[in-house]
Amino acid sequence: MTTTVVAPDSKADRQRAAQMSDRSRAEQRLGQRLVLPAIVVMLVVTAFPMLRAIYLSTFQYSLTDPDDRRFLGVQNYVTALTDSLFWETTLNTVFIMIVTVAFELVIGFVFAMVMHRIIFARGVIRTSILIPYGIITVVSGFAWQFAFSNSNGFINEWLPFVQDSFNWFGQYGSAIAAIMVSEIWKTTPFMSLLLLAGLAQVSEDMIEAAKVDGATWWQRLWKVILPNMRSAIMVAVLFRALDAYRIFDNIFVMTAGAQNTESVSFLTYRQVIEQFQLGIGSALSVLLFISVLLIAFLIVKIFRVDLAAARQES
């Protein structure tokens, strides 16, 4: 681990160490000591279980039949990757991720523009926008599930083009739409707060200058405002996309995976906790983690987000 003081091994290192004053060495030690508890706690609960997941994923291991534990090698991965269920849930999760993030970005931006320009009732608006963020996802899942219910909800009654008896949870399309509505409702505020922070960093002078030069509102938006908040948008998209890929609570509450609305997280949970299949479940866990890393990598590459710069770290 990098947190322990490593003995200088190369000649250059030794020279540098010799040059290093007592003071800066003390600073090194203090710094490392202060971050040590954080590193330990983070690694104990993630790195170690993850390694264990990799180990378990090579076994046929079911908690209902622990004596029949056999080494399988990569067989669990082959089983998962050749099963159409895995690909269906992956596609489903990617679909949910893309649609919800797209909606959140647009709605969140409109909200951020309003909050940026508003002069009255700022406190009220800011307080209300934090309410969806603070509410338990399970509660918002229930609220929307009951709202869409045909026996006790109000949505069918309010929507003129939907029959009052329409069962939203009866087929894939409308069930997944209801899940996405709940997800979008809950997380758009977070997106809009991040975008608001980005918007605050765009200089008013530049917008004014563009206005003087005769740029229309639309041109100012596309040529001045959006390019200048690029890194804020990218960070917001990255964080929300990774978060949306892990979707679990809403699906659990609203459909429990019925009508093929399962996500990868839900499939993994079901294998491990409901069916006690630790072997294949662990393989799914590893695949889930790899796909999250892959998405992060892709977004960072495609949008060329410099996370270090965005976070002002070097």
């Binding site: 600073e27 508890p37 509660v139 219910s149 006790n152 679990f248 866990s285």
Partner: protein, 279 residues
Amino acid sequence: MSLKNRVGVVIGALLILVWCLLPVAWIISLSFKSQEAITTGSPGFLPSEGGAAGWQNYVDVINDDQFRRAIFNSIGISLIATLFSVIIATLAAYAIARLEFRGKRFVLTTALVIAMFPVVALVGPLFDMWRTFGIYDTWLGLIIPYISFTLPLAIWTLSAFFREIPWEMEQAAQVDGATSWQAFRKVIVPLAAPGVFTAAILTFFFAWNDFVFGISLTSTEAARPIPAALSFFVGQDPFNRPASLLAAGAVVSTVPIIVIVLLFQRKIVAGLTSGAVKG
């Protein structure tokens, strides 16, 4: 601002309010519908005439042992996890904002990876490990993962705050004759306190909201937190949940969050955005 813009902002503000508050109003309205009305079907936003239950659902929820126990678990577990997470994060954030040391990048990278970690991926091995260690279905079994998963946000929020503190003031106080401990306590602590407080609120929100660990690392009411308890609150017929009762439970579990939001709205916004954007 032109008239057109002003009208746009007003309409936008109304839209935001409806967006944020309509589902909340709906769940409150649902919690006042009587259970008989719900069983026979009671479509519509407000309780129908004769279909209102008054406070009955709330009385039933408060008198429910399992629900009371879940509230108690959630408050206890979230507060303990928040306390430890904030202490550990404060040490780390202070070091990151103030000191030069090898391994700084490693801390930040680890925090970043954990922030995007799919928690479900850990449920299997943790379930297995916690059973071996005997902390499955205990407070400790939830507190430990909550601390780990709230650390990244707490470290970022705090290091962003700490970076804004003019540290020279501490030296200035020492020059004026204060001991270094006095300088730290009288000058730095008051400046850092709002940041620490904000990190604590955000950490508390995370722990209060968690569902995945709550359902997979508990099996009885010994440690089951509210979100898990609500989701297992099914009643006799799984296809006909006691919606109004559940809604009352949902409202009760939301009250602490609303109170925190009302009191500390400014700080929460600052913490969320500095943690995520500025960093």
